[in-house]
Amino acid sequence: MHFVVLQFPASNCDQDCVHAVRVLGHTSGLVWHKETSLGAADAVIVPGGFSYGDYLRCGAIARFSPVMQAVKQFADHGGLVLGICNGFQILCEAGLLPGALIRNRDLQFHCEQVFLKTASFDSPFTCKIPRDKLLKIPIAHGEGCYFADEATLAGLKSNHQILWQYCDAKGELTETSNPNGSLLNIAGLCNERRNVAGLMPHPDRASEEILGSADGRFIFESMIAALLEKPAAKAA
């Protein structure tokens, strides 16, 4: 499978994502944000970083980059798109995912390991995560507090679009295990069609034991397994 990793000015986890995919024995390559085509992509990763210096709002300027039109088309055709950290913010700004990510509740940048509970295994991003496994994955963000209005939250719940929630080491969804004040402890979610997902934690930074955790692999492995089952829609 071939993963395309987007690269915006000030993306800084693009190479981490490329590496994480290659470690799993698949191919990946970078596509510059000014490109209008993704090439032969089976899946797209929108990586973390500080695209456009986080000016105006995180992801607000990147979403208008030419490549995002191709990503929209790819998603419309059913292609798998995963946004990590700034990538999650970009996908929300682009309207590919519901809600928004705002300043952390305590106004501080959080760079730490967190535990994630998988809330739905019924998605191409979570299907290979062991059922009782809490994922230990790092976060590194200042604006990761998930917000959506009541109606949107109700929709997320009834459609099982919440994929990951911040929890403690026992898997309890507590206030203290919520690093940024996200509503419902939401760390990541997917769209209604379940082919676009985003999360604030960095699975790319937890893809090998030498990094302190390899739990992030389960997310990439889920995507690969889903793609092998059902080949991706090829986009222009």
């Binding site: 105006l56 709002r57 607000a60 208008f64 929300c92 700004e93 809600g99 928004a100 705002i102 300043r103 952390n104 509740r105 305590d106 106004l107 507090c145 917000f147 959506a148 209005d149 004040g181």
Partner: protein, 80 residues
């Protein structure tokens, strides 16, 4: 000719900056403050002779789709 856009967090959205500023004001002895909302102010210079109504319509669209995020923010646009 200038356009001014004031962007504020929606009332339902957690505004930790506003809360922090509010409590700092209280600590400094400024009493009677019941709320602070920290937003953004954009000043946009327009070419002389720009049609005011057309500029208003264009900037209204820009404010809605780009300069503010309607999920979390409200905005007010003035042209003078």
């Amino acid at each position: 000719m200038k356009a001014k856009i004031i962007i504020t967090p929606k009332k339902a959205v957690l505004d930790p900056q506003g809360k922090t500023v509010q409590s700092a004001l209280a600590h400094m002895g400024y009493t009677g403050v019941t709320g602070v909302h920290v937003g953004k102010y954009l000043e946009i210079d327009l070419a002389p002779g720009t049609d005011k109504a057309a500029a208003h319509a264009a900037l209204n669209e820009a404010a809605h789709k780009f300069l503010s995020n309607p999920v979390i923010e409200d905005y007010r646009l003035e042209i003078e």
